[in-house]
Amino acid sequence: MNELGVLLDLPSVRLAILALLLGSLSLPVVGVFIVGLDIMPVRFAMMHVALLGIALGFLTGLDPLLCALVLCAVTGGALTPMARSSAGLSGAMGLLMTLAIAAALMLLSVSGVNANGAFELLWGSILATRPFDVAALAVLAGVVPVLYWLRRRDLALLLHDRELALCSGVAVDRLTLILLVIISLAIASAIRLTGALLVDALTLLPALAARRVGGSLAAMIRWSLVFGLAFNVGGFFLALLFDLPPGPTLVLVGGVVTLLIHAVPTYRKGSPQSCASSSASPLSPSSH
């Protein structure tokens, strides 16, 4: 335990814990949005767009990570009209991913920039968290929960059914745009935190676990925050205690718990009940 105390005194460990705590406030909520919009491949798309942004940064001499962040936000938002088509956004994500990686490789090759240098910027690590990453996460931690709270009624309708939202006075296009920009920014910022391959642990795993236990958007958001915090803090401390690599430990903790939650049968949903009941269902979601 003394060893742990020493580790906790390290500035890099403290910064990592701060980043993970801040991330826990927004990234699981973003994960719920991702699941709700049915765009799980968004992480792959944004990873490749970020690479293109980094290449652009190298080429223009601007800060590569800032370029990546801006380009992710712009391309994410540009996908908004695709949400109107029946194919929805998931196909658009695949298209964006392939186009972005091709453009990035082309740019890197034409500009003569060392591709490895660009790729390296994508492989972040929790223990290499920089103040800039923490600042980005802090902004998200402020913006995302507030957006959810102010727009929770509209969000519940939009994520449930686009046409129902349209017919309920929700500004569907604007809200979709905001969601896509926020999702893109969140993923681009989180990539630096855990590396591109582990972003899912911070976003999707808490959301997937929450979907299993939450019967409404509000319940899912609450559960995703609980799971996100538990996975992040639990995983990180396990890694410190047993001297394991933090990224994979975090993902494994989250993944195993999510799997276990899905393995436990649920009695809440689909309970048989006749029409003629007048009292509240005893089986209604308990999370109120």
Binding site: L157, D161, E163, L164, G169, G215, K269, C275, S277
Partner: protein
């Protein structure tokens, strides 16, 4: 809001190159009740969706209260004036509580009251995905009644009794008959058609008034 008029002239709707609705003319005065019948695939749902701006690939003129919808805000306004019961109620990929569905009508109180009348008042805290087909249809009907209470003057109901039991069909027919608003109800249900003052039939995209 009280009952409002609906006027269609030369409305043609396409799905790609397929013409689903073909040069339809129709005039409903405020308070008119029209039953729309016809064969499967004859274009009834497409026509109602065009009125709501959910099917935008149409030509011709669709006016509600004498006004054609233009641009995003025009359609948004249209959707507050017109209540809708979709044929395929979304079970949704994402959980939505019956209570939230009813609140989306913009008059949650009236919608909940209607839900109680329609025997689904006990399901408010259930996700809509967990309802039976008939329960879901009743919940959507209650939502539409909430929209009417919130000021919509025209109800477009797409087979609102398709999933209902006999009592439910009779009850909905009664509710529709008593509505002071303008009503277009797509139905294959004789009980519902019988309470409407006017009946039109669609076949292969063409509309013909029968009564």
């Amino acid at each position: 809001m009280s009952a409002i008029s609906l006027s269609l002239s030369g409305v043609t709707c396409r799905h790609g190159s397929f013409t689903a609705v073909d040069r339809v003319d129709l005039d409903l005065a405020p308070g008119d009740h029209l039953a729309l019948t016809g064969t499967n695939g004859s274009g009834k749902s497409t026509l109602l969706r065009a009125v709501l701006g959910l099917h935008r690939a149409f030509t011709g003129r669709i006016a509600v209260s004498g006004v054609e919808a233009k641009g995003g805000s025009g359609w948004a306004r249209r959707r507050t004036e017109v209540a809708w019961i979709p044929q395929r109620q979304a079970a949704g990929r994402f959980p939505l509580l019956v209570r939230e569905l009813l609140a989306s009508s913009r008059n949650a109180e009236a919608a909940v009251r209607a839900a109680v009348d329609l025997s689904v008042g006990g399901l408010l805290d259930r996700p809509v995905a967990s309802l039976s087909g008939g329960q879901l249809q009743r919940a959507y009907l209650a939502r539409a009644l909430g929209q009417l209470a919130a000021g919509a003057g025209l109800l477009l109901a797409d087979e609102p009794t398709a999933a209902l039991d006999f009592d439910g069909q009779a009850q909905v027919a009664r509710v529709l008959a008593e509505l002071p608003m303008t009503v277009v109800v797509i139905t294959h249900d004789r009980v519902v058609a019988d309470v409407c003052g006017r009946v039109a039939e669609m076949a292969a995209g063409r509309l013909r008034e029968v009564r």
